[in-house]
């Protein structure tokens, strides 16, 4: 038996690692995606004033603090059973839409695009955001930086800090906007819509017009039929901020819908001793181990799964892009994992359009933005769609509103099982007996999980470019037989 260790799976060495075990014939027996860290927020949330979790839990992740801030605030709304004024709800969603624009831009351009724009075989030293800017020119690089920056400026305006903003509280938000601020947000939103359309066109030109990429997207190695999860509005259209969570089976048939307070009836998490991260699955189907398909409770919660779990987008141009997406593949749901990148850009367009809609809402400058809680605090669940998956915060307090228990199911955690399976599948397809394991294999294994935009434990989020990978092949006695490296200059 041989063991292949991919360590680290991101540039963040030690924050993620893959151990692949081969049999004597050189076929992949099993793959373990190991997450070697934990910070224990569920524990030290205990004893805190529940409303302070809106500031504490965003420190789970500095890449998507806005998602934790929103899920936490919605859980607090539920803990206090406090009604949120309509304008405050809209401002929260406006804030959240700006965040989606910034975050999806970061992922596509800084993380994913170097693989496609520069190509999987581009020189390692160039395959990062700076190399990307050198290739496409400073003008376009600046456009990306500014599109992201202007969305971040909206977050800073509303939330004080641009990173770890403090905007929402139980019962509303901490500040409203005036007409001048509204007009500025509207102007930004118009630019963001243009930027999202430009990004989609870029994807068509660079990826969809390249047969090699299209073959790769459609290849069996990157296809993973699982259940799909995503939040939807009352018309089953994608929503990031509020609604029911919908799950469809691998054929696209609805399995169930649930409201936040029902999540424990739907999702459970397995614990394994060899990793610090838990594996969520659908209770109704059951845990069958790290396998895909209709008989396994494994599900995805990603831009692709959100499109699969919905029946459309709530804004006009995103809806057109949605239709084009499914028309191109000629089927729904789509299980080609690399299509997640395209789905992410469709969501970018939706977020930009939604930002525009909300910025032009006649109610948006209304000064009534907060209700103080009057009910005794008890228990509450808040769910939003984080960019990397459905995000659930669940708090139980005493009668003073001091947290007794907290449970958090974080975006990427949902995808821990499918990422593990995707990596195993890519390895199985690419590692062939008798064939040397070349650098290109590592790149493809890497692409199999990068498309999830993994943010393990919401703490080890990867940013620009390629990850260093090292595969060590040992014989059954543990003697090193071969080492294949990439990005290990």
């Amino acid at each position: 038996m041989k063991k292949i260790t991919i360590d680290p799976v991101t540039r963040l060495e030690g924050h993620g690692r893959i151990d692949i075990f081969l049999n004597d014939e050189g076929e992949v027996l099993n793959a373990y995606m190991v997450i070697p860290e934990l910070r224990g927020f569920e524990k030290f949330a205990q004893g805190r004033r529940v409303e302070e979790l809106t500031d504490i839990t965003p420190r789970i992740c500095g890449v998507c603090p806005e998602a934790h801030h929103m899920a936490s605030t919605k859980a607090c709304d539920a803990v206090y059973r406090v009604e949120v004024p309509p304008t405050a709800k809209k401002l929260r969603e406006l804030f959240y839409s700006a965040f989606y624009v910034a975050d999806h831009t970061v992922h596509f351009y800084i993380l994913a695009a170097p693989d496609f724009v520069l190509g999987p075989d581009a020189p390692v030293a160039e395959r990062n955001i700076l190399g990307l800017i050198r290739k496409v020119g400073v003008e376009m690089g600046t456009r990306v930086i500014q599109a992201r920056g202007k969305a971040m400026d909206i977050i800073g305006l509303l939330g004080g800090r641009k990173i770890h903003p403090t905007f929402a509280l139980p019962g509303g938000v901490t500040r409203g906007i005036n007409e001048a601020e509204r007009a500025q947000i509207e102007a930004t939103a118009r630019e963001e819509i243009e930027f999202a359309l430009f990004s989609l066109q870029l994807f068509r030109d660079i990826v969809l017009k390249n047969p090699a990429y299209v073959d790769m997207i459609r290849s069996e190695a990157f296809t993973l039929p699982t259940y799909s999860m995503g939040m939807v509005d009352e018309k089953n259209r994608v929503n990031f901020y509020d609604g029911k969570v919908r799950v469809v089976d691998p054929e696209g048939k609805e399995l169930l819908q649930y409201r936040p307070h029902e999540y424990l009836e739907v999702v459970a998490e397995r614990v394994e001793p060899w990793t610090y991260l838990k594996f969520p699955y659908l209770k109704k189907i059951g845990w069958k181990g790290l396998v895909a398909g209709k008989e396994s409770g494994v599900y995805q919660a990603t831009p692709l799964s959100r499109l699969n779990a919905s029946e459309g987008m709530a804004t006009p141009r995103a809806q057109e892009a949605y239709e084009e997406f499914y028309k191109t593949f000629g089927k729904k749901p789509v299980h080609h994992l690399l299509a997640t990148h395209w789905a992410r850009l469709i969501e970018l367009l939706y977020a930009a359009e939604r930002l525009f809609e909300l910025s032009t809402d006649p109610q948006i400058t209304d000064p009534k933005i907060r209700n103080l809680p009057t009910e005794k605090p008890t228990e509450g669940v808040g769910i939003v769609e984080a960019p990397r998956g459905t995000l659930t915060h669940h708090y139980i307090t005493d009668e003073r509103g001091i947290v007794q228990k907290a449970n958090l199911i974080v975006g990427t955690t949902n995808n821990y099982a499918p990422i593990s399976i995707a990596v195993k599948k890519a390895a199985q397809a690419l590692i062939q007996k008798g064939q040397p394991i070349r650098e290109g294999i590592l790149n493809r294994v890497e692409m199999a999980f990068r498309l999830f935009d993994p943010c393990f434990g919401c703490a080890t989020h990867a940013l620009p470019g390629r990850m260093p990978l090292e595969i060590r092949i040992r014989d059954e006695r543990g003697n090193l037989k071969d080492v294949v490296k990439q990005n290990l200059s």
Binding site: M1, K3, R11, E13, N30, Y32, V34, E37, L38, R39, E42, K43, G47, R48, E52, I56, R59, C61, G62, V63, P65, Y80, I110, L130, I133, G141, T142, R148, G149, M152, R161, I163, T166, L169, T174, R175, Y263, L264, A268, E269, V271, P273, W274, P280, R370, L372, P373, R400, G401, I402, K405, N407, C458, A459, G465, M467, P468, E470, N487, L488
Partner: protein, 324 residues
């Protein structure tokens, strides 16, 4: 200047949230300037260098290492030692590395109680075998190892010698830029200094003037909608501004949220929590000791209030083991 060799820079994250990396991304177009003046030898988030490559560098090869994140696992500590050895200048970057930050609140508990909570007690957990993570696990195909999870969160300074402290959760980008300019220009102050901040308090840079009004009741954020034109502390909302180093620009109070203290203690203050408690006690409006005790006693979660960002670095450091 142009002939000078480029500055050799390294950036690393230990136990952190990634917000410090996004704070670097917030430099926006200036990142391109950084690319011109500095050679980034190691930045797991952006540059393709591995531990092995760092290990292969001569000692002191890196000019400046910006190290963010706290020391939570054996692996975090290993990297702290490695990067200290390889760097001429080691900067504790951000609140986690400087003071332990919010993840440092885990020092109210220990490894066992954290594991029990996360892997056994959380209501969504399905764990029939009551498994918790093990440093080494035998699986059918072989053995898998993960780092040791310590009982206690430590700051960078508690495991290695630190040359400069750059506070904030996260550090604000204009301050980061000012420090990078000082590094590139060779204008860093004496070793041991706090950089990327100022010598005042957050109160001093807040738009609201504090009148040190006497307080009969301290309010939680769910109990009051503050008057947006006035000092929050004067309205009975505990604000860490008087006990926190300035440099952020008092961003939170601009949106009617009190300072929670992420820039750490101000100059000449050893224990930020004690300083904030002192600021609270000094404005209590009570005629008797009993009344004063009642007003202060009503403040729930004192540790999470006064030591939100700095428990590991404080005089308290952690709850005694075995007492959680």
């Amino acid at each position: 200047m142009a002939q000078d060799p480029k500055l050799k820079l390294a950036l690393y994250w230990a136990a952190s949230c990634g917000g410090c990396e996004i704070a670097m991304v917030e430099l926006r177009e200036k990142l391109l300037t950084v690319d011109q003046v500095a050679e980034i030898l190691f930045w797991p988030v952006a540059v393709d260098t591995k531990y092995k490559d760092v290990e292969a560098m001569p000692d002191g090869h890196i000019d400046v290492c910006l190290f963010n994140g706290a020391i939570r696992t054996s692996e975090n500590e290993h990297l702290a030692h490695l990067l200290r050895k390889k760097s001429k200048v080691l900067v504790a970057f951000g609140s986690c590395a400087c003071e332990g930050c919010i993840p440092g609140l885990a020092n109210l508990y220990d490894r066992q109680s954290i594991f029990e909570c996360v892997y056994l007690e959380c209501p969504s957990v399905d764990n029939p075998n009551r498994a918790v993570p093990q440093v080494s696990t035998k699986v059918p195909e072989g053995e898998i190892h993960i780092p040791h999870f310590y009982n206690t969160v430590k700051t960078l300074g508690q495991v290695e010698e630190v040359d400069y402290w750059l506070p904030g959760c996260p550090p604000q980008d204009p301050q980061i830029w000012a420090v990078i300019e000082a590094i590139v220009g060779g204008n860093l102050p004496a070793k041991g200094s706090v950089v990327g901040a100022n010598e005042k308090t957050v109160c001093d840079e807040c738009q609201f003037k504090r009148e040190e009004k006497r307080i009969k009741k301290f309010y939680r954020l769910v109990e009051i909608i503050p008057d947006p034109g006035k000092c929050l502390f004067d309205q009975g909302i505990i604000c860490a501004g008087p006990a926190t180093r300035g440099g952020c620009g008092a961003l939170c109070t601009k949106v009617n949220i009190p300072c929670r203290g992420c820039y750490g203690p101000p100059p000449h203050v050893v224990d930020q929590g004690a300083a904030l408690l002192s600021a609270v006690a000094s404005v209590v409006d009570a005629d008797t000791e009993e009344e004063a005790a009642r007003i202060v006693g009503e403040i729930s979660d004192p540790v999470g209030t006064f030591y939100r960002f700095g428990l590991p670095a404080s005089l308290l450091h952690r709850r005694r083991l075995g007492k959680s």
